[in-house]
Every structure is written in structure tokens, then in C-alpha cells.
């Protein structure tokens, strides 16, 4: 049966309509992404350079969000930093999810030794407080970039997807349609990809959001400690520089509030989306059962 | 034929010295009206749905006497469980009791406040639930689950007396005393069901509702549980409403059998009467579908599917599946027709149907 039915858009629309939390979350994230994409076109990012503007200005007509001690226009900095942070989160999420899905599928389908090894590995890594290991790795890197950051942070994002996908694969491999495919002579890996994988898509989508969340959390953790990219501005680094230069103590609130607020919005959006997706996936389950 | 009603013989009604099932003598309890311990009048329960209200129970009336065992039979969705749950006000929103009365020894159960209901539950009317497997709290011992019932009703606070009462209850349902300190998962299905019976009789209620108490059990355990139930009933002198879909079981255990269809009570009669002289086509088909050793025949089910209660068939709800149906059946809802004392039917042709043999097949 052709999965791409003509009313895909309509079905998606109806699906979202039934789940307001998901819609709200996605809307928030889409708005933030738009800000990140459109912002640099509208606002002059040159103003985010050090010394581009008059330092320590309160928010006003000329500098909408004020400036920091180094003469950066905060609004411009925000516009520059948001896409960088989103990039890290997104790519780390994709990498973490990719790794997690593959490991989860392998563990769930082949079971036995493969499963034991993968599961133990995931458990061990989950036991070690991620931030500690990340910090360890990050301190030894000569110069941190956004790309490198994404790779490092992906290291923390793969465990939960692995567990989820593994659990789902385990239950799915017992389903009748898998048995039929097996009887028809479909082999191991091909079976995994043609029969099991498509049914995992909702879980993968939900896990993606979780992976991005974990990645973002790890990112901002590292950055707040000053271990983020030194030359490229991200939201976490903005917070770090603000703290480093004592913005909090010196009452330069406009310096740290915008990045904090933006980060909070991103996290809230991710939470709403992932909770909404969880509910959606569970509802579908209840209908199927 | 072996009869589970204490060996009085097939022709007897309720046990000696107790009330005749319907329309009989005055009760010895001064607080019962008209001799009935429970009088359900015109009960209506509806569930609002997107397509309009679903009439789960549509004008059901019956009476129950002390010591009597009433069996309510019907297909899934016929409203039998809903009827009895309504008596304890256990219908969950958005469902609601939309009309009728249920008078238990002088008090209308349906008119009680939540507070009053809470004190009445299990002290005057108790429930043996369907699926005892899941009805017991997995993290509490049997004793704890009987204790909290006693506590909720302020009964037997003194520890020694309490322990004795619990031991007594278990004994009455045929369980060893050590069961009290075990957890539900350590007990077999039949034992769990008996614990539920013990809980139901703990406060010596006047009415016990048993909602398909044996559905999940195998035949041998079924019989044991039913015997336990009857024994327990006699110990506290309660009346039982037994809900089920097994006519054979009803034949063995009930004094009076009521048949429900699409939320309505289509026939009710003392058990011998209903098997010897069923007057509603549905009842006949139910009985004839029972296998028996006496006659060998082809198995017959009842063709068609259970009706929707949101959009029930017009007139008599059974008419689409009834072999005797005529034009009139789709226009007029049959009214309550009293064929004999205690035998009520709702069918336009009840009086005209030919008599049946032991297998429920029509003669002539």
C-alpha cells in the first residue's frame, strides 16, 4: 500500500489539531528558527563585533537591547548567536539520534551478545555524569568550534534514543508482519529496514526532540563553563561572557537577560514538543491496541 | 440433575423458610416495603456521545427479596453491568443516572449524596467485581485490604476483634487463615475471587452484586466460587444479583432470571418458569443455543449483531434479529406484560408463541 497518500498535509494538519501542546511547541520552535534565519538579513551583524558600538549602553532607541562592556550590540549578538546554538543542537541531535537509532535497532533486533554489549555500554555512559566527561574532553581541545562542539555533545545525546528504539524494536520483532516477512525469505538487515524501521518513525521523531534537548543542555553546560567556541558567538557563550565580565554583579541586566530568555524559550519549546509528541504516540498506540 | 441451591430439588424456589421470589408474603423485616429488600423502578442510565445520548439502561425495573438470587443475563453491551453499577452510584462521568429509583430497605440509593453513598457502599450493598485478578491492590496484603474497608466504615477498631473477624471471613469463604498476610500475586485466580467475596460480606450487607464473578475462571473453579458465594450469602442473609452471560450458570444458581437486551429488561421470571416457558423470542434463542446432553442438535447462535445503544432500532430493539418480527415491532415498543405472578415479558407476541421443549425449541 502506498504510504504517501495524497492527503498527507491534511492528515498532518488534523494530527496536530488534536494535540495543542505539540502545536504550541512546534510553533515556538519555528518562530525561533525564523528569527535565527531572518534576523541576520534584517539586523546588521557587524554590530556584534567587539568595539562596534558604544559599550555599556542601556537598552534604548539606538541599541534596542543595549550593549555590553566590549561594545557589542546585544540585539545583533543575539541574532548572530541564536542560529549558532540552534545549529549545534540540531546537528548534535541528528548525530546522536542517528547513532542511537542504529544501535537501538541492532540491539533490539539481533539481541544476544549485540544487545548485551550495546545495552551495557549505554548504561555505563548514562551512569557517568555526562558533563564531567564532556568537560574533560573539551578542556583538552585546542580551539573549539561550533562543528566540534556538535560532535562532542552528540556523545551525550545517543543513549536515550538507543534505549527507546531498542525497546520498540524488541516488541516489534514479535509482530506478525515481521514473521511473515521472515517466512517470505527477507533477510536480517533488510528486514530491519523495510519492516521495522518505518513503524519506528513516530518514536524516532519523538527521540529526535529528546536528543536535541539533551544536546542543547550539554552545549549550554559546557559553554557556561567557558568551554564553548571561543571565536564564534553562541547563546551559551553570551551568558558566559556576561558572567565572566561580572554583568550580573554590575547590574548590566540587558546583557544576560536576552540570551537567558532565548535559551529558556528554546527549552520550553522543546519540552512542549516532546511532551506533545509523547502524547501523540501514546494515543496512536491506544487506538491501534 | 444436580442443583446448586442447597439440594432442595429442581422444583423448589428459594430456600425453605425464606421469601417467595415475587409478589409474595410480607417480610419479617419491618423496614422493607412490599416484602422486597430492593426495589428498582424505571432506572435510566445514559452516556452522552458525539452522536447523541447512548441509553445504556432504558427503563429497567425489578425487585429483589431477602435471600433471593437474581440472575441478569444478556450479551455484551446489553446494560446489565451498568444497571448494577448504577445501584452503587459507580457510573463514571460522563455517564449519568438520568432517572429512576432504587429503594433499598426504604432508602433510595440513587438519591443519596456522595457522603451517604460512601457509608452505604459495602455496608448495605456490596460488589464482587468482575476480574478479581486486577481488583485487588498489588501492594497491599489481603488483611490490609479488608482492614481498610472496616476502617472506612468505623467497624471493629479493637485489634483482637478485628483479627478474629478477618479470620472468620476467610474461613467462611473457605480460605486458610494465612491468606490474610499474603499479597494478591501469591494467590490463584479462584482464591483471589474468594477474597473479593470475603470483602463483600465483611460488613454483612443486605444486597451483594456479583458482576460476572466467574468469567475469567475455568469451569471447576467456577463451581467452587459459586458455591462459596452462595454459602457466604447464606451466612449474612443477603440477596444476590448475579450478572452474567451464561444461561447455563443461571440455570444452576439463580432463583429468578432477568434477560436484558439493548438496555431493556425483556423478560424476567422464576428460573424454572423461564426455562420451561420462555416467552420472549430472544430468551428462547438464548436457551436453545445452550448445548445439552438430552437432545442432540445443530448449534445455533443468534444471527445479527448487538444493536447500537446510541441509535437503537425503533420500536422493539430486538426486531431486526427476531424471527417472529412484524411491521408492528418496528413501530411500537412492547409494554410490560405480566403473564403469570413474577413472569414479566416485553413482546407483542408473548402470549401467542408456541410452547417449547426442554431444548427451548418450539413445538408445533
Amino acid at each position: 500500500m502506498n504510504k504517501q497518500s495524497p492527503g498527507l498535509l491534511l492528515r498532518t494538519g488534523r494530527l496536530l489539531g488534536g494535540e495543542p501542546l505539540l502545536t504550541a511547541g512546534l510553533t515556538l520552535l519555528v518562530l525561533i528558527t525564523l528569527f535565527a534565519l531572518v534576523g541576520p538579513l534584517v539586523i546588521n551583524v557587524e554590530m556584534a563585533q567587539i568595539g562596534a558600538a558604544v559599550p555599556r549602553q542601556r537598552p534604548g532607541a539606538e541599541y534596542l537591547l543595549g550593549t555590553d562592556v566590549q561594545g557589542r550590540d546585544i540585539l545583533a549578538a543575539l541574532v548572530l548567536a541564536t542560529p549558532q546554538t540552534l545549529k549545534i543542537g540540531f546537528f548534535a541531535g541528528v548525530m546522536g539520534l542517528g547513532l542511537g537509532t542504529i544501535l537501538g535497532l541492532l540491539a533490539g533486533y539481533f539481541r544476544g551478545w549485540t544487545d548485551t554489549v550495546i545495552r551495557t555500554l549505554a548504561d555505563v555512559v548514562m551512569t557517568i555524569p555526562g558533563i564531567a566527561v564532556l568537560v574533560l574532553v573539551a578542556t583538552n581541545v585546542r580551539s573549539m568550534t561550533v562543528a566540534l562542539m556538535a560532535v562532542i555533545v552528540a556523545g551525550l545525546a545517543w543513549m536515550y534514543p538507543t534505549r527507546t528504539i531498542r525497546a520498540q524494536t524488541l516488541s516489534m520483532r514479535e509482530r506478525p508482519y515481521v514473521d511473515i516477512a521472515r517466512l517470505n525469505g527477507v533477510g536480517g538487515v533488510e528486514l530491519v529496514f523495510t519492516e521495522i524501521f518505518p513503524n519506528l518513525l513516530p518514536y524516532i521523531a519523538a527521540s529526535f526532540v529528546t536528543a536535541v534537548s539533551s544536546a542543547m543542555l550539554a552545549t549550554i553546560g559546557l559553554e557556561a563553563l567557558g568551554l564553548g567556541p571561543q571565536n564564534e558567538l553562541t547563546l551559551g557563550m553570551m551568558i558566559f561572557w556576561a558572567q565572566y565580565y561580572g554583568a550580573i554583579l554590575r547590574n548590566l541586566w540587558w546583557w544576560w537577560v536576552p540570551p537567558v530568555a532565548m535559551m529558556a524559550l528554546i527549552f520550553i519549546g522543546l519540552l512542549m514538543t516532546s511532551t506533545g509528541m509523547d502524547r501523540l504516540v501514546n494515543r496512536r498506540l491506544r487506538v491501534e491496541a | 440433575m444436580n442443583d446448586e441451591r442447597g439440594g432442595e430439588g429442581f422444583a423448589a424456589g428459594p430456600p425453605q423458610g425464606e421469601m417467595r421470589p415475587l409478589g409474595g408474603q410480607r417480610s419479617t423485616r419491618s423496614d422493607e416495603r412490599g416484602g422486597h429488600i430492593l426495589d428498582v423502578r424505571d432506572l435510566h442510565v445514559e452516556f452522552p456521545t458525539a452522536l447523541g445520548p447512548a441509553l445504556a439502561v432504558d427503563g429497567v425495573s425489578f425487585t429483589l427479596d431477602k435471600g433471593m438470587r437474581l440472575g441478569l443475563v444478556g450479551e455484551s453491551g446489553s446494560g446489565k453491568s451498568t444497571t448494577v453499577l448504577a445501584l452503587m452510584q459507580l457510573i463514571k462521568a460522563p455517564g449519568r443516572i438520568s432517572g429512576g429509583q432504587a429503594i433499598l430497605a426504604g432508602d433510595d440509593l440513587l438519591a443519596m449524596s456522595a457522603q451517604q453513598m460512601r457509608s452505604v457502599r459495602f455496608s448495605r450493598i456490596a460488589l464482587v467485581p468482575q476480574g478479581a485478578m486486577n481488583s485487588l491492590n498489588p501492594v497491599l496484603t489481603v488483611r490490609a485490604q479488608i482492614d481498610d474497608l472496616l476502617d472506612a466504615h468505623g467497624q471493629k477498631p479493637e485489634p483482637k476483634e478485628r483479627a478474629r473477624h478477618v479470620a472468620g471471613l476467610l474461613q467462611r469463604v473457605g480460605l486458610p487463615e494465612n491468606v490474610a498476610d499474603q499479597y494478591p500475586h501469591q494467590l490463584s485466580g479462584g482464591m483471589k475471587q474468594r477474597v473479593c467475596i470475603a470483602i463483600a460480606i465483611a460488613l454483612s450487607p443486605q444486597v451483594i452484586i456479583a458482576d460476572e464473578p466467574t468469567s475469567a475462571l475455568d469451569v471447576i473453579v467456577q463451581k467452587q466460587v459459586m458455591q462459596t458465594l452462595i454459602h457466604a450469602q447464606r451466612e449474612v442473609g443477603a440477596a444476590i444479583i448475579l450478572v452474567g452471560h451464561d444461561m447455563g450458570l443461571m440455570a444452576q444458581f439463580a432463583h429468578v432470571v432477568g434477560v436484558m437486551y439493548a438496555g431493556r429488561l425483556v423478560e424476567i421470571a422464576p428460573v424454572q418458569e423461564i426455562f420451561a416457558n420462555p416467552r420472549h423470542p430472544y430468551t428462547r434463542m438464548l436457551i436453545s443455543s445452550l448445548p445439552s446432553f438430552a437432545t442432540r442438535k445443530v448449534f445455533r447462535g443468534i444471527p445479527g449483531v448487538a444493536p447500537s445503544i446510541v441509535n437503537p432500532p425503533s420500536g422493539c430493539a430486538f426486531h431486526p434479529r427476531c424471527p417472529r418480527a412484524e411491521q408492528r415491532c418496528s413501530r411500537e415498543i412492547p409494554v410490560d406484560d405480566v403473564l403469570a405472578p413474577g413472569h414479566h415479558v416485553r413482546c407483542h407476541f408473548a402470549r401467542e408463541l408456541p410452547p417449547v421443549n426442554a431444548a427451548g425449541e418450539a413445538l408445533a
Binding site: 551512569t127 | 467485581p129 485487588l136 498489588p138 501492594v139
Partner: protein, 324 residues
């Protein structure tokens, strides 16, 4: 299982710093000499002697065995930066602070969050609770230390009600007296609050989901049919049955909580293990980092083991399954 995890954690812990490029000793000494103007030749000799001293000149497998031996004896080596301070001293100095903060905060947020989640899932619960639930849940999305920054700004700077940082006031000498306890408590308020407020929501959401599924069970129906009070049904029949998966959830998210707590300590310069880890990282104090990370991993694994032992107490089915 726990032993395996602990063992693997130890091994990974051993390998990661050594897998990184760069030699910390050489770096340290180069830095020192650069700031005091020594000459190159001496540096190499010093590096070599330090290497010998710390056993870094031996082949990897020997270092590994030595490491295992030392760890078993509780010897984590010396702090490279504050030599001759031992790593175990550094850890012991910071441990009580972290335990007090993390322990209390987790206990409070777990209890309050779990009950809140249960109440949110129960029908006929007060509207106020439902309304209160929303901001609490939203807060859970935010990482602990961001909330910490906000709280610091509001309660320590704008309205100086609580101390800004540290474990006790500047110039105060800690001792075994009530004044010290008072200082410690006061300085722990904001960090604890950051953790509590930001994590209550996660417990609440998880518990709510669990309780919703428990609500549909038959034993709840019978409990209500028995005429039990709403409170009894909620606690003994509802909450208790949903508690077990909630505890499992706790075990799984432990490392996440600890990570968050570390960052909170950094923001508030709260002298716990997290803060000392931060200091060690920036000073590239090799052995301290290793020691603390090892301690963290092992203690998380250990806590999971303890929780594992608690399960049978809560769910008799598990007790039976284990006995058989």
C-alpha cells in the same frame, strides 16, 4: 551489574584523560616557567622527574594496574596544582557541601514533585494545584543553572535577601558550631532552590503519566466501591502503585541531576565537589579531575544499587520474584 558498571567507569575514567593530546605536566611546568622566566633545558629535566614521581613514565598497562591498585586503596594521587595536597583531601573537603545540597534538594523536589504529579493526575483535584502546575512544569524545561542565574539576580543582587556566592560569608571561619550551620544553610538556599524549582516539574510530569495509567486499573474501582476515603484511595491505591516506575526514573536520571548540580555549584561558587571539579579543569589538575569524575560515576552506580534494594520494599511482587 553495578560492579561491572563501576569497573567500566573506572576504566573509561582512566583512559579519557590519557587519550587526550597534550601533556598536563609539561603544560603546567611550561606555564610556571613562562611566568617566572626559567630556561628550557631545566624544564625537560623537571618534567621527567615529575613524570617519574607521578608514575606517568611507565607503559600504559602498568599505569592502569597501578591505578586500579591505588583506587582500591583509596589513593587518588596528588593534586598537581596544590601539591602536596592529596586528591582525596580535595574530595573530602567538598563532599559534605555537595551531599548536603544535592541530597536535600533532590529529596525535596522528588517528594513534592511526585505528589504534585499524582494530584495533577487525580480527578477532582483542586483547581489551584492545576494552575500552579503549569509554571512548575514550564520551569522544568530550563537547565538548573540558568534558573540559578535568575534567582541570584533577583534574590541576591536586586533585593539582597540571600548571599550571592560561596559556602559561607567572606572572612567567616567555619567551625563546629551553630553559626557555621546557619551560614551553610543560608548559602545553600539559592543553589538548592535552583535545583528544586527546576526539577519538580520533571518529577511531576513523570508521576502524572504513571498515575493516569494506574487510575484506569480495576483495583481503583473496587477501592472506591468499598467506600474508602478519597485520600486513602489516592495514597495507598494510586500513588503507591505508580511509585515504583517513578523510582526507576530517579535512578535513570541521577547522572543528569548530578550534572546539573555541578553547574549550579559553579554559578554560585558553592564549595562542593562540582565547584572543585571546575577549578581543577581550568587548572588542568589531572588527578583531581580523574578522582572527582571517578567518585561521581561510582557513587551514581552505587546509588542505583541502593535504589534497586529499595524496590522490593515498595512492591511485594518484586520481593517474591527475587526470592524464587
Amino acid at each position: 551489574m553495578t560492579l561491572l558498571v563501576a569497573f567500566l567507569a573506572i576504566t573509561i575514567n582512566f583512559l579519557i584523560p590519557r587519550a587526550m593530546p597534550g601533556d598536563p605536566i609539561e603544560q603546567q611546568l611550561s606555564q610556571l616557567s613562562a611566568s617566572s622566566g626559567g630556561n628550557i633545558g631545566d624544564i625537560q629535566a623537571m618534567v621527567q622527574s615529575y613524570r617519574e614521581r607521578f608514575g606517568l613514565d611507565k607503559p600504559l598497562w602498568r599505569q592502569y594496574l597501578n591505578y586500579l591498585y591505588d583506587v582500591a586503596r583509596g589513593d587518588f594521587g596528588f593534586s598537581l596544582v596544590n601539591y602536596p595536597e592529596r586528591v582525596s583531601d580535595v574530595i573530602l573537603a567538598g563532599l559534605p557541601w555537595t551531599l548536603a545540597l544535592l541530597g536535600t534538594a533532590t529529596l525535596i523536589s522528588f517528594s513534592v514533585g511526585t505528589i504534585l504529579g499524582g494530584v495533577l493526575a487525580w480527578p477532582d483535584s483542586s483547581r489551584w494545584v492545576q494552575i500552579l502546575g503549569v509554571p512548575v512544569i514550564l520551569l522544568s524545561a530550563v537547565p538548573y543553572f540558568i534558573l540559578g542565574i535568575v534567582l541570584m539576580f533577583v534574590f541576591a543582587l536586586t533585593y539582597p535577601l540571600l548571599p550571592v556566592a560561596g559556602g559561607y560569608s567572606f572572612g567567616f571561619m567555619p567551625a563546629w558550631n551553630w553559626a557555621t550551620v546557619g551560614q551553610m544553610a543560608l548559602h545553600a538556599v539559592l543553589p538548592a532552590l535552583s535545583i528544586i524549582l527546576a526539577s519538580i516539574g520533571t518529577w511531576a510530569i513523570a508521576m502524572r503519566g504513571m498515575v493516569i495509567s494506574v487510575r484506569g486499573e480495576d483495583y481503583i474501582m473496587l477501592a472506591e466501591a468499598k467506600g474508602l476515603s478519597a485520600r486513602r484511595v489516592f495514597f495507598a491505591y494510586g500513588l503507591r502503585n505508580a511509585l515504583l516506575p517513578q523510582l526507576t526514573h530517579l535512578a535513570l536520571t541521577l547522572s543528569h541531576i548530578v550534572s546539573g548540580a555541578i553547574l549550579v555549584e559553579v554559578i554560585f561558587a558553592y564549595p562542593g565537589i562540582g565547584y572543585r571539579l571546575y577549578q581543577a579543569i581550568h587548572a588542568k589538575d589531572y588527578f583531581v579531575i580523574q578522582g572527582i569524575v571517578l567518585l561521581l560515576s561510582v557513587s551514581i552506580a552505587f546509588t542505583m544499587l541502593v535504589l534497586d534494594l529499595v524496590y522490593p520494599l515498595i512492591d511485594p511482587r518484586i520481593k517474591s520474584a527475587r526470592q524464587s
